[in-house]
Amino acid sequence: MFYREAGQFKSTYSADMAVFPLRQDRIGIAVILALAFIGVPLIGNDFFISSVMIPFLVFSLAAIGLNILTGYTGLISLGTAAFMGVGAYAAYKLTTAFPGINIIVLVLVSGLFSAAIGVLFGLPSLRIKGFYLAVATLAAQFFLQWAFVRVPWLFNYNASGAIEVPQRTLFGFPITGASASPETRYFVCLVLVVGLTWFASNLVHGKLGRSWMAVRDMDIAAELMGIKLLNAKLTAFAVSSFYAGVAGAMMIFFWYGGGEAADVFNIRLSFNILFMVIIGGLGSLIGSFFGAAFIASLPTILKFGLPALGVPLSGAAAEHVTFMLVGALIITFLIVEPHGLARLWQIGKQKLRTWPFPY
């Protein structure tokens, strides 16, 4: 009744091609953004912001990156965590080499390094497809992870082998390092994620995005239509790795605050991000957010939320139940809606459109 396009006329082509043609959608986005920028810092406590919201943002960005590759271009990659690691190590090397440059700029620049490595490991995609490609990208995962441990130059020859995040400021506020408050770190992440999501949305709705989708739907047909596979696949790898790299740098700088980074970017993380993309919805930006919330935040919320609600579970038993519950939920969601949470969201919107009438 309220969510309906009746009365909204489009008088220009650009209005017709807008990403959010409905006024209600635009209001909805504004409300969500307002909630994210104002509501969350006001309501949430430190634990909620630093252990639920920041990870959620970081994983959303990584999932968007992988979604560009897997969801939009149809290339499965299991090396996302390694590309995230490249971003993290690049950001660390850059900020220790050029301490004067703003860390946010460096985080974005480190994404470029990750993009370059991504293109290199994307080369086999011109030849190999499907699960074969997925397993081939594991080469990147294992090789890079090995390099993170083995090449001491990457962590500045620290005896501990860990990377320590130095304190960096923005307008005089510390935004990295331990003295940065969770709220500040959250704001920086939020701005980066919102900005990059906007950029991604423009990419996938533009020429490049369309060529990716053509390649996904059938690469031979796309090639016959004049799309250069080399360009389309490698740009997909580059953009995807760029997002992953930025997410990785954010992960270490704004969330972990340093530590045993090589161990963080392991194969399990790669799998998790792939699953975020699948369960969120392949080829859907909003799905990436849903997927991140489901795979990354849900276990945390269950683990700490259930005991607080009075469910008498603790320690190992809680962990077991969480594992079983998440597993069962994954299967349930896949059975209910194999196209992911984003599809459920669309169905919901469609229902809302016709509500209260059934058709």
């Binding site: 309501i43 949430g44 406590n45 430190d46 634990f47 909620f48 630093s50 252990s51 639920v52 990870p55 220790t96 301490p99 294992f142 090995w146 441990v149 083995r150 500045n156 620290n158 005896a159 501990s160 082998g161 860990a162 320590e164 995040v165 130095p166 304190q167 960096r168 510390p174 390092g177 331990a178 003295s179 969330w255 972990y256 605050g257 340093g258 530590g259 045993e260 090589a262 161990d263 963080v264 392991n266 194969i267 945390t300 919320i301 269950l302 683990k303 700490f304 939320g305 259930l306 607080a308 609600l309 603790s314 320690g315 190992a316 809680a318 962990e319 077991h320 594992f323």
Partner: protein
């Protein structure tokens, strides 16, 4: 349909709210102590006995004495699965519940928590693990690493080797192999061993094991066969250790020349080798077995009353006892803090003071039923480790024994390295807070 959706939404909302608002309702005469545990995941084999030991000692203190000077210790485990991400969550959780101490139980978790702890003012007790450089109290006032560091361990290994060969001068021309988990934890001993190798003229061979190949060490042991090291030091963890013991037996490496770091000294690690594992050695900081009043008290007050999670026969195993030892340090530091501040219910900052002037003497060990269980340890304002003694334990086929005496680490070799590295760490982490906490007048 609508209502179920609503209900789901409401439930999720409630969950979110609940996880956001975890306020501990503590009674007046208790303190809260959060301990990281990993009873799940690939490393649970080592995590379970440790967690049981820690839990049981605290329970015993609560049951037998009614707490520490009448203050009950509310002990809560946070499950990490040995995963750094989860342990960071656990840290935030512990912080929001006002824990008196953070006990990370993994080197990765320690590294991630060290910068935070200095801002949040929560002391970290990383007992014989974590960042070796954090033994420098001047730069790391909030981190404690008793009774010794991995670097002390490496020096002890060299000392043990020298003792068996008949003197430090006999080390010349010998070969020492280091098998290590290819992660920061595993690489810890390398700088010390390299220094000592240069000084005493022995050769150091390094054999890294990737985490994915923990149970697949075939080619590594071939290299060992080729290089024929005289001694092997195993800085391993989890499933890597039993595999190493089995491979050593398989490859005819003399098992009594294989020495594990203290974390490679689990009963399950050695048992995997069967009867041939007799003679496998491991550095150790606590005695194994039940033949101590403290363990008997745990059996009496906790295990027999069914309040323990451990199986009866597991009580007194090496790693279990290590958990007990760690909890003992916590309780003794609490007592010390109570004495220093005159308060009964202490907070995290009092706890730091308590840890910093912790002095566990032989007499005190006897009082708490731990005579011969461990050696005295003294922590001071500058020395947050104590560099205490360790011994080389030997597996006799069914249990760990203590054939030799307590050995002192080569503190003179280790200490300068610690100070240099601590300085380096602090310099690299710009904005590192200068120590403002005053030192205790000697206690």
């Amino acid at each position: 349909m609508k209502t179920t959706k609503l209900m789901k939404g409401a439930a999720l909302g409630a969950l979110l709210a609940a996880s956001a608002q975890v306020a501990p309702a503590l009674a007046q005469d208790s303190v809260y102590f959060a301990n990281n545990a990993y009873r799940t995941g690939p490393f649970s084999g080592s995590g379970i006995p440790i967690g049981d030991g820690m839990r049981d000692y605290i329970t015993m203190i609560n049951e037998r004495d009614g707490g520490v000077n009448g203050v009950k210790v509310v002990y809560e485990e946070c499950e990490t699965g040995y995963d750094t991400k989860k342990s960071i969550e656990c840290y935030e959780q512990a912080k929001s519940k006002n824990t008196i101490l953070y006990s990370p139980w993994s080197t990765g978790a320690t590294l991630a928590a060290i910068p935070r702890a200095h801002i949040d003012k929560i002391p970290i007790l990383s007992m014989a693990y974590g960042l070796s450089a954090s033994a420098d109290g001047t730069n790391f006032p909030w981190v404690f690493i008793p009774p010794f560091t991995y670097w002390d361990g490496a020096s002890l290994m060299v000392k043990h080797m020298a003792a068996e060969l008949g003197g430090m001068d006999k080390l010349k021309g010998k070969k020492l192999g280091l098998i290590h988990l290819d992660a920061p934890f595993g690489k810890e001993p390398i700088p010390v061993l390299e220094n000592l190798a240069k000084k005493y003229g022995f050769e150091l061979k390094i054999y890294p094991v990737a985490a994915a190949d923990m149970q697949n060490q075939g080619s590594l042991w071939l290299s060992i066969r080729r290089d024929r090291p005289d001694y092997l030091y195993n800085q391993g963890w989890g499933a890597m250790n039993p595999t190493a013991v089995k491979e050593a037996i398989k490859n005819n490496f003399p098992i009594n020349k294989l020495v594990g770091v203290w974390w490679a000294g689990g009963d399950d690690d050695a048992r995997a080798g069967g009867p041939e594992a007799k003679g496998y050695k491991s550095l150790n900081l606590n005695a194994a077995g039940t033949n101590f009043p403290v363990i008997q008290d745990i059996q009496k007050y906790v295990v027999e009353k069914g309040k323990s999670l451990a199986a009866k026969e597991k009580v007194g195993e090496n790693l279990y006892n290590r958990g007990v030892y760690n909890s003992m340090l916590v309780v003794e530091a609490m007592r010390n803090a109570q004495k220093l501040t005159g308060k009964k219910v202490i907070n995290a900052e009092d706890m730091r003071r308590g840890l910093e002037s912790l002095n566990i003497t032989e007499a005190r060990l006897k009082e708490i039923g731990m005579e011969g269980f461990a050696t005295p340890t003294t922590i001071s304002c500058t020395d947050h480790s104590g560099h205490s003694k360790a011994y080389v334990a030997e597996w006799d086929g069914t249990k760990w024994t203590k054939p030799g005496d307590w050995l002192e680490p080569l503190k003179d070799e280790v200490r300068p390295l610690i100070e240099a590295n601590a300085k380096d760490y602090v310099e690299k982490a710009t904005g590192w807070p200068k120590r403002t906490e005053p030192c205790e007048k000697s206690s």
